[in-house]
Symmetry: C2
Subunit: 147 residues, 2 copies
Amino acid sequence: MGDRRQRQDLGVLLFVANRALEQRAFDAVVAAGITDITLAQARVAARIGPDGTRVSDLAEQARVTKQTAAFLVEQLERAGYVERVPDPTDGRARLVRLTAHAGPVVRAADAEVQRVLAEWAEHVGEERLDQLHEILRDLRDVTDPWR
Amino acid sequence: MGDRRQRQDLGVLLFVANRALEQRAFDAVVAAGITDITLAQARVAARIGPDGTRVSDLAEQARVTKQTAAFLVEQLERAGYVERVPDPTDGRARLVRLTAHAGPVVRAADAEVQRVLAEWAEHVGEERLDQLHEILRDLRDVTDPWR
DNA sequence: CGAGTTAGACAGATTATCTGTCTAATCTGG
DNA sequence: CCAGATTAGACAGATAATCTGTCTAACTCG
C-alpha cells in the first residue's frame, strides 16, 4: 500500500528535475552575457536539429501551436540566432537553422548541462543516472506519440 | 564516448514525460466537463496541500513569481475552486485551500494520473517505474533547493 | 486531374508572466 | 522590549507567450 499515493508526485518530480536543468542552462547563457533571448525562445531553439528543422516540427516538440513556434522563431531570427531557408524537399516548408551567431549560446548551454549532469551523477551515482536516462528513453514510446 | 552526447537529451526526456502526464490529466479534467480552468491555473492548484498552502509557497513550487501565483489563485477563487483563509499562525499570510467545488476536478485528474502510471508500468515494468520514482526523489535534494 | 491534407503566414484576442513598489506583520539581535 | 531586517501579500503597469480562426500555396494519393 502507499504505492499509489507515493507515485502521485511523479509529475512533480519530473517537473522539478526538468525545470532545474532548464533553468541552470538558461542562467548560464545569461551569465555568458547573452541577454537578448528569452526562456521560451531558448526552449524552441534547443530543438533545432543540425540540418535545420521545420517550424511545425519545432511546435510539436515544444508542445506549442505552430503560431506560437512561428512567433518565437521570428524573434530569434530578428536577433540573428536563426535563419530560415527554403526546404529543398518541400516547397511549402522552410527550414529553421541556427546561425554562427548562435554558437556561443549553444556552447554555454551545453557546457552547463554537462556540469549539471555531473552534479546529478555525483549525487545519485553514474549508474542510477544511466538508469534514469534509459527508463525515460523507453517511456518515450508512450509519452511522445510523434517522434 | 557517446555518453555525453546521449545524455544531452535528458532534458528533453524529462520534459516530454512531464508534459505527457500533465496533458493527460488536464485533458481528463476537460473531458469531465470542467472547462472554466486553464492549464496554468491547474498547475498551481495541483500544488495546494490538504491543509492549505500559502501563495508564496505555491509560487516557489510552481517556479513562478508570487505575483503570477497570486493572479492564478485569484482566477481560481473567482471560479469557486479555492478560497483564501487567514493563516492562524501568521498574520501576514493567507492559506489557499481547495473548496468542495474542486472535488470533481481533483478526482478526475487523480484518476487519470493513475491510469497513465498504469500504462507506463505496463510499458517499462513496475520495477523500473519504481526505480524512476526513486531516482527522481533522490535527485530532488539537488534539483529542489527549497523543499 | 481533383479532393483532401499539410506548411506556414496573417490577424486578433486572451492569458501568463515579469519588474517594481508599497503596507502590514513577523522575526532577530541587542 | 524596541529598531532594523525580513517576509507575505496587494497593487499597478508593462511585456511576453499562447491560443483560435482564417487564408494561400504546395504536396499527396487515388
